[in-house]
Symmetry: C4
Subunit: 292 residues, 4 copies
Amino acid sequence: MDNSYEVRNDRLFKLPNSPELVRNTIRIKSKLIRNGLAEAIGTFILVFIGTSVNAQFLLPRAAINTWIQIAVGWGFAIMIAIASVARISGAHLNPAISILFFSMGALDIASLFVYIIFQHIGAFFGAAATYIVYRDAINYYDGGLRAIAGSNGTAGIFATYPQPFLSALTGYYDQVAGTGLLAFCILMITDEPNKVPFAAQPVLIGISLLVIGCGFGWNCGFPLNPARDLGPRLFTYFVYGTKVFAHPWNYWFLVPIIGPILGALIGGWFYILLIGSHIPDEKISEEIETRK
Amino acid sequence: MDNSYEVRNDRLFKLPNSPELVRNTIRIKSKLIRNGLAEAIGTFILVFIGTSVNAQFLLPRAAINTWIQIAVGWGFAIMIAIASVARISGAHLNPAISILFFSMGALDIASLFVYIIFQHIGAFFGAAATYIVYRDAINYYDGGLRAIAGSNGTAGIFATYPQPFLSALTGYYDQVAGTGLLAFCILMITDEPNKVPFAAQPVLIGISLLVIGCGFGWNCGFPLNPARDLGPRLFTYFVYGTKVFAHPWNYWFLVPIIGPILGALIGGWFYILLIGSHIPDEKISEEIETRK
Amino acid sequence: MDNSYEVRNDRLFKLPNSPELVRNTIRIKSKLIRNGLAEAIGTFILVFIGTSVNAQFLLPRAAINTWIQIAVGWGFAIMIAIASVARISGAHLNPAISILFFSMGALDIASLFVYIIFQHIGAFFGAAATYIVYRDAINYYDGGLRAIAGSNGTAGIFATYPQPFLSALTGYYDQVAGTGLLAFCILMITDEPNKVPFAAQPVLIGISLLVIGCGFGWNCGFPLNPARDLGPRLFTYFVYGTKVFAHPWNYWFLVPIIGPILGALIGGWFYILLIGSHIPDEKISEEIETRK
Amino acid sequence: MDNSYEVRNDRLFKLPNSPELVRNTIRIKSKLIRNGLAEAIGTFILVFIGTSVNAQFLLPRAAINTWIQIAVGWGFAIMIAIASVARISGAHLNPAISILFFSMGALDIASLFVYIIFQHIGAFFGAAATYIVYRDAINYYDGGLRAIAGSNGTAGIFATYPQPFLSALTGYYDQVAGTGLLAFCILMITDEPNKVPFAAQPVLIGISLLVIGCGFGWNCGFPLNPARDLGPRLFTYFVYGTKVFAHPWNYWFLVPIIGPILGALIGGWFYILLIGSHIPDEKISEEIETRK
């Protein structure tokens, strides 16, 4: 009778029967495909949670929601998404970050293309999954007549659109600033000399996105990620029509693609050249002493 | 005079006199009963705090509350509940998670039944405890005439009810999505290769529930847990009558039972097959180096 | 020129010149007085920050504030207060917790009296410090005519008062429930077998208070601590007059004194008897393996 | 084909090609200049994020924002800023903190001047960067007619101004209290005997600022930092004119300069004399035992 479950070795579960066997059977042999799949799943989770947070914010038309919820929701969505696949693909989940790593020599060209393609695939299906969960609520909100913007507009749940006052130039500034800060934070948090524990890195990156959402969300909704914006926009093309690429003006949709790429390169290299290269060496003896 | 209290060894207290003696006297010998009791207490804490958070959100009829409070409240309620009993029973606190672990061969059939029964008992009394604390406030809110829904309805404090626009099908989608993400996160956070410290696991699971509450709370209040919903619903049967099983339509109450079970199985096995099995092995030497 | 500041050994500062000398000169030799002083300072910080959070919530008469701010403010105030003096006195900061530890044999009777007295002293001056910072704002709010309650009432910034609908009995339930959960969490978080790192313990206790504030704040403002309530109430006696002990009814002020003491004893011993005594022993070999 | 990217050794990236070479080439040899640059960058990040959070709070004129966002935004902005440069300059980012460290003998006089100057430079450009990102939104808000205060006033995004009811004396109290608590927390969190892990220190300092923002933000917006206030005020001189130094009365701008310096000295030495000097020594054997 008493062969019941017991917590062993701080591990809550083991794969059934012969985990090695299962693992060896289903494990994908190609690193490239494995990493691509991981990027797709991570970006799927990011966009599924994130756009659902947007839906819950917009659709109640009520005062129970506040902007902090958007920032918290996206911040911890990226935390979960990164933690999920960081051990496999490094969890870029963002073409702008992949391009930054490519520019640093930390990603080869074949991987770069695979990463970017799979990130878009994941984002596309993340938006689709949110649509399925919130289809009833969207119908209730707009009476079944899909609109991009206006009092019944819901396309902003999926892709981002700028405030009416925003010029294209300030849109680019905004995206360069937000993504620059994000890339800066990602390199700073993962840079070895800063010794942030691996398990804490997704949490700190999540908090970074949270605070960027508190400061850079008003102009155009902090996309900061070409795949997070273009993937859902492609999905909304099938629901809202071609106007999603022309609202509020033609080529707006390029801002959250080009802006984040520029921003990640600027913010990332800003970190490398002005911070990362200047951290003093620690002598081994000090190293040991600090671990005391 | 100076035999006063002093902090010793980072331990703030010791059990009185002869802790081993006390421990050996009262310690429950049967693992099964010990684990069941732990599940009941953990689920009691989760539901007591969580439904009190709901009460504080609903009853003031005022703008001081925002939805983020629900997400934060439930998120950190599960953190506390898991941390409390994780060392004893593993802290499932959710029949859907127990069924997932059973499907993985990580829980035997006898334990499965014991876990599920005690989870419901804990949830029932958690709702009762909230009712005692907020009985005065509920009387003030509804003038003593208990109503399930409407402007004086308070049954939603305890069990979940869907938005008026929600179809049963979308209700299932919603519960599969939310519980799927939760199960995915639980396996990811507790999976050994991800090396999340034991003490940090309840915090990260709490944050996961928090963010799921930000994204999947609007349709039907993210029950995500058959015991968390059915236990309190049984309690409200004694307060609000049989209508709690038939509002807003017959068999709604099955959605937060069946949906979460399906969701946990889908989300959990999604993790195992698509993520957990593909994490690269770390060589021992690397392992040592990373601990540096 | 280059003898400038450099970060050494993860330590940002050292006491000037000969720290040992300074330390030996000013260090209080009596453990009892040292611990009492630490309790006073910790409770001062808790109440100074906490009542200032209350002031900032009440005085703007505006929608910029939400209840979550109260919960977050008090939660992290106790985090700071505990972290400040935990290495000296153990950071009870609450007579109910000190009485619980006394009942467990973890605090001697002399220390118990010293702790409780100094906790009240700290709380008194914490409220006074808040009054100094917010005197102008209170004058602006009430036109200089101090009132306990009503549209110009401000005494609730310092001590707690119940909602109009609250019976004394439910007030006691509420305080037993809230303080019981708090004491349960404190023992659980600091209990050695749960192996929460010392530096993380104040954070988790803070989050526990945060979530208790989200669920048990509506009835009477979650005092949960006789000193936190009585100390500021004594201070307000000099500002608002004797009515602070008779509003809204005679002897209300006893509820946040007696309730928390009962609650801490119930919640604490609930943990010890039903959880702490049943955590399985870890064998040394497992212990080592989990550290891997 | 399979030479693709793989996560190695918990490190997500390496500097390209020969990092040592790059590092040796661009590394700034003078510690003083390196530290000054680090202080400028850290303060730039703090003020850029923080004033953008202010902009997002003010400019929407809508109920989607709540004060908690200001507290969270500034709290995690300082977390990011400190984490970025703590390994280089110690991340004071605040002349009041530098003066406190100078008073403790932990910073030499040349470094003190360099730190303070570069902190102001960073803060100036941080405000300028926010202005560029939010120029369109400010134009939309005020119709292009810049005003310091009133219904179209926007200067409060950058520098702080007091509530109309605030006397100069209470302004000083407020700044001494807020900065005193901040300096107290910084020393407590970084003091070696408290053994807070290096990577966790910026997080806890950030949470400290967050909670100070919840309790001491209403009187005059918790500047708590001469450079954070004077740097942006100098920038706004070029946008709003000389009135920024005379609103709402002459010499208000001195309050967030003098108040924080007094506060940091009082709060810091309060910690050293009343807490830091009284932490009991741990014997080596205990030390080892606690690590168990």
